[in-house]
């Protein structure tokens, strides 16, 4: 197990380094970064200031040295400057991480709380009305574009029925504002849980030891949840780790449609404004989230399934 963890840790670090190289290279591909410092109107910089900016940004050094400075700054917590208002990026990321985490965790929990039992029931009540409904929810969640569903939901629940607000996070912790974006964001992973759990449960419930349990007269509830579900949980558990990382980075459409002031919106604005320092850091952050989640899932998976760590 120890060797397995060390091996996974090493490959994770390697992946992180690779990502930093790619992100840095891409940020340098668009030309001279100093162009981004010029205001939209006005007379910009004179030659002296232009040269000073090169020195300040280490552009007068070789590319690998520039990369070294960049990494060193990040490790020291200096994530650079937001070109939009020329203020440090780090406090903004902290500020925007809260709304994103609130939304992502809510959606993650909703997807698990609803998706997993629905998957189990769908398998147990195979070909029933409940099964058909669950499968329809799963197909809808996986095939309907999030932004489109979001806009329709706003039209229905906010404009026509007037039950919920159109968007924004509201003042303080406004539950009403959280409901629609959470449901929309949760739908896709919920669909994944339904399909994954249903499939796993169908396999398990057909196995010999389940038949034996039933033959021995174990009550159906215990058969399903103790003997069936516990053995079917490994795949959804793996899925859950990656889903959380995916929700944090993948809420772009939902944050845009619902005007949610999180990291994903920040990233979208950075794309539109050619705000490369922000884009580089956000990309790096998302990638780190995935790599860390992947690592934790690998470890958890190995812990739960001896075949992995011994193989």
């Amino acid at each position: 197990m120890k060797r397995f963890i060390i091996r996974r840790l090493f490959t994770s670090i390697l992946a992180l380094v690779g990502v930093t190289v790619i992100v840095f290279s891409m940020s340098r591909m668009v030309g001279d970064p100093r162009i981004l410092l010029l205001p939209q109107q006005g007379y910009g910089m004179n030659q002296q200031e232009w040269d000073a900016a090169a020195s300040r940004l280490h552009l007068d050094r070789a590319i690998p040295v520039q990369y070294g400075y960049w990494i060193a700054d990040i490790l020291r917590g200096n994530l650079g400057m937001d070109l939009a208002d020329r203020t440090p990026i780090a406090p903004k990321l902290t500020q925007k991480f809260g709304p994103t985490l609130t939304l992502s965790l809510s959606a993650w929990l909703l997807a698990i709380v609803v998706g997993v039992p629905l998957g189990v029931l769908s398998a147990v009540k195979r070909n029933s009305l409940l099964d058909y409904v669950a499968r329809a929810i799963a197909i809808g969640g996986q095939s309907l574009p999030t932004f489109w569903v979001g806009i329709l939901a706003i039209l229905l629940f906010a404009v026509w029925l007037g039950w919920l607000p159109v968007g924004t996070m509201g003042e303080g912790f406004a539950i009403r504002n959280l409901i629609l974006p959470t449901i929309i964001l949760a739908w896709l992973p919920l669909a994944g849980y339904v399909r994954l759990v249903r499939s796993a449960m169908l396999d398990i419930m057909d196995s010999e030891y389940i038949k034996l349990a039933r033959a021995k007269g174990v009550v159906e509830w215990t058969v399903i949840w103790k003997h069936g579900f516990r053995n079917a949980i490994i795949a959804p558990l793996t899925f859950a780790g990656l889903t959380l990382a995916g929700l944090i980075s993948g809420s772009i459409a939902v944050e845009t449609v619902f005007s949610w002031p999180g990291i994903a919106r920040y990233a979208v604005e950075a794309v539109w404004n050619n705000n490369l320092p922000v884009l580089a850091i956000v990309t790096l952050l998302f990638t780190v989230a995935f790599v860390v989640a992947n690592f934790l899932v690998d470890v958890l998976y190995a812990y739960l399934d001896p075949r992995i760590r011994l193989g």
Partner: protein, 601 residues
């Protein structure tokens, strides 16, 4: 359709007359002593106060209620004067105030006293002295306004004084304002490099990119970093909170010197999706919203109304990108390093026969025919009816609005006929009988829709296939800065001002090396700009304008398409009153001057 620029030339006539009298009556011996005083007691239209700008601290009641405004973007924080990326937002939101205030009186736009109570222009137009209003307080307990605050603000944002200053208006002031100086405790002096008749209105009032006054005490006591986070002004609203991508949250100043707001709180919320802004307005979650033009008619049918003052019309003129015809910088004389790519059908090279500018070179004549063909194959009426819902105006020349009095006086010459047949003949003469393929950059929204319509007509009528470039403006903008534009593209703003204003800098090399430029550098533009900055005589200014527009028209350098209106839409059932200053920036979706918003009972 109302347009803020319509009557401005008449104002300029008055202003020019005042200044001319000042020059005529004043001493001829330099240095000139001030002899003309335009104060609030003057009888001129320039300085007569009105009920809007007169101090009116009491509404009878204390501010109450909250108004929510849904806008596409709340931009960036106010910053510091040296580094304020979008400072017009501060004045538009009522957070900061300008030295003068713009006001529309009987259709004309005039300047009124603002933070300056009175002012005096030197006989030789080299400076303006302004008397600061007493008893105006900064927010957050930063004391009263002084001459030091005004000088601090203007010198910090002026690249002529502060090297590297990047206030969004600062760059525009480089050829205009040399420096600002404290004369005494309540008097400041603006030293002009070149004084044009409209400069008080353009640079010192809230009309265009008026410069809001920052607190020097905040800078001295709290430091730069604090000030970046906490823009301090004297406006009727104080900043409670600004969160990027979320909103601006303002609270009313309860005893403001000029206008105590009716509402206690204003919330500008950033709602990027146009459909959501409309949904917020319709559901009552917002009382005012920035709405796409295509939705206006439906909302009007449902009883919603347009704000009293519109922002500048989005006048879409086509820049024939790549015609960089200037060889030396107008101010420094430095040689300009430009590539004139004559493989682009609309680009001509006037230096094919040597170092002298020659408009008769083969490429100049060929490109002129191509540009004329493009300009006369635009169905302006059709585009206005279909894309702009009939709410806009056609635009024949991109460098002057069709409703400008100077255009109207010359409309017979400057109206471009829709004549695809003649255009085909011109293309054949230019050597493109089978059309050509090229690039056209547009920003998303109305620009892209109009661009698609124009290029569809070109494709059908002239077999010209335009590849539409839709990358973000920020990503594309370096081409403008570097003078490497090789596509057609739109540029708007000309119709926001009277044609007599020196807008020619937008297509001149004067802003080189790193300043804004539309994609062309024309010696004629520089020549006109310099001439306009050396006179306040309105007839001379009009003459220069006509000459310049004749040149643009003859060489088909800037064909216009359409002027699309821009304004905030509000719910009259929620808002009973909302007057507004004429302000031709489109900050905050046109939802400006919130101190005049009164909620319905």
């Amino acid at each position: 359709m109302k347009t803020p620029s319509r009557h401005l030339p008449f104002t300029m006539v008055v202003l020019a007359l005042v200044l001319s009298v000042a020059v005529a009556c004043g001493s001829q011996d330099p240095p000139a002593e001030p002899t003309s005083t335009a104060t609030q007691t003057s009888s001129t239209a320039v300085s007569t106060p009105t009920s809007v700008t007169a101090p009116d601290p009491g509404n009878g009641t204390q501010p109450s209620g909250t108004v929510t405004i849904a806008v596409q973007t709340v931009g960036t924080r106010g910053g510091i004067p040296r580094d304020c990326p979008f400072c017009a937002l501060n004045t538009s939101a009522g957070l900061q105030e300008t030295m003068l205030l713009a006001e529309r009186t009987n259709g004309d736009v005039t300047v009124q006293p603002g933070l300056a109570e009175s002012w005096t222009v030197a006989d030789d137009l080299s400076y303006t002295d302004m008397e600061i209003r007493e008893g105006v307080s900064f927010h957050k307990g930063m004391g009263d306004l002084t001459a030091e605050d005004v000088v601090f603000t203007f010198n910090e944002m002026n690249p002529n004084v502060t090297s590297g200053a990047q206030h969004d208006t600062g760059g525009d002031l480089t050829p205009v304002l040399e420096r600002t100086e404290v004369i005494d405790e309540s008097t400041v002096r603006f030293h002009w490099i070149g004084f044009a008749a409209h400069y008080h209105l353009q640079w010192l009032s809230n009309y265009f990119e008026g410069i809001g006054i920052f607190s020097k005490r905040a800078w001295d006591e709290m430091g730069e970093e604090w000030m970046r986070e906490n823009p301090v002004g004297t406006g009727p609203f104080e900043l409670e909170r600004y969160t990027q991508n979320e909103g601006i949250f303002l609270t009313a100043v309860s005893d403001h010197w000029r206008k105590t707001p009716f509402v206690a709180e204003v919330r500008y919320l950033e709602i990027p999706e146009p459909s959501n802004r409309r949904a917020m307005l319709e559901s009552g979650q917002a009382q005012i919203a920035q709405i796409d033009l295509k939705d206006w008619s439906a909302l009007f049918d449902d009883g919603f109304e347009k704000a009293a003052e519109e922002g500048p019309a989005n006048d879409l003129g086509i820049v024939m990108g790549g015609n960089y015809w200037e060889t030396h910088h107008p101010s420094t004389g430095d040689t300009l390093d430009r590539t004139i790519d004559t493989s682009l059908p609309w680009v001509g090279n006037p230096y094919e026969n040597g170092d002298e500018f020659d408009e008769n070179t083969p490429s100049m004549q060929r490109a002129k025919k191509v540009r004329m063909a493009l300009g006369m194959t635009i169905d302006r009426e059709g585009i206005n009816d279909s894309i702009v819902e009939g709410l806009g105006l056609v635009s024949n020349l991109g460098s002057i609005g069709d409703n400008d009095p100077i255009f109207q006086a010359n409309a017979d010459r400057w109206t471009v006929p829709y004549d695809p047949g003649r255009a085909k003949e011109l293309l054949e003469e230019a050597g493109y009988p089978d059309g050509f393929r090229a690039g056209f950059y547009t920003q998303p929204g109305i620009e892209a829709e109009v661009g698609d319509a124009v290029t569809a007509i070109w494709r059908n009528e002239l077999n010209i296939d335009m590849a539409m470039d839709r990358q973000s403006y920020s990503a594309w903008r370096p081409q403008r800065i570097n003078r490497t534009v090789n596509q057609l593209n739109f540029h708007s703003m000309w119709s926001a001002f009277p044609a007599t204003w020196p807008g020619e800098w937008l297509i001149s090399a004067v802003s080189a090396p790193t300043g804004f430029n539309s994609g062309m550098e024309l010696p004629k533009a520089t020549e006109t700009l310099e001439a306009k900055q050396s006179t306040v005589d309105i007839e001379e200014l009009e003459g220069l304008t006509v000459e310049f527009q004749d040149y643009i028209n003859e060489w088909a350098l800037y064909p216009g398409v359409v002027e699309a209106p821009q304004a905030a839409i509000y719910d009259p059932q929620a808002i009973s009153e909302w007057t507004m200053y004429p302000m031709v920036n489109f900050a905050l979706g046109g939802a400006k001057a919130p101190e005049f918003i009164r909620l319905a009972p």
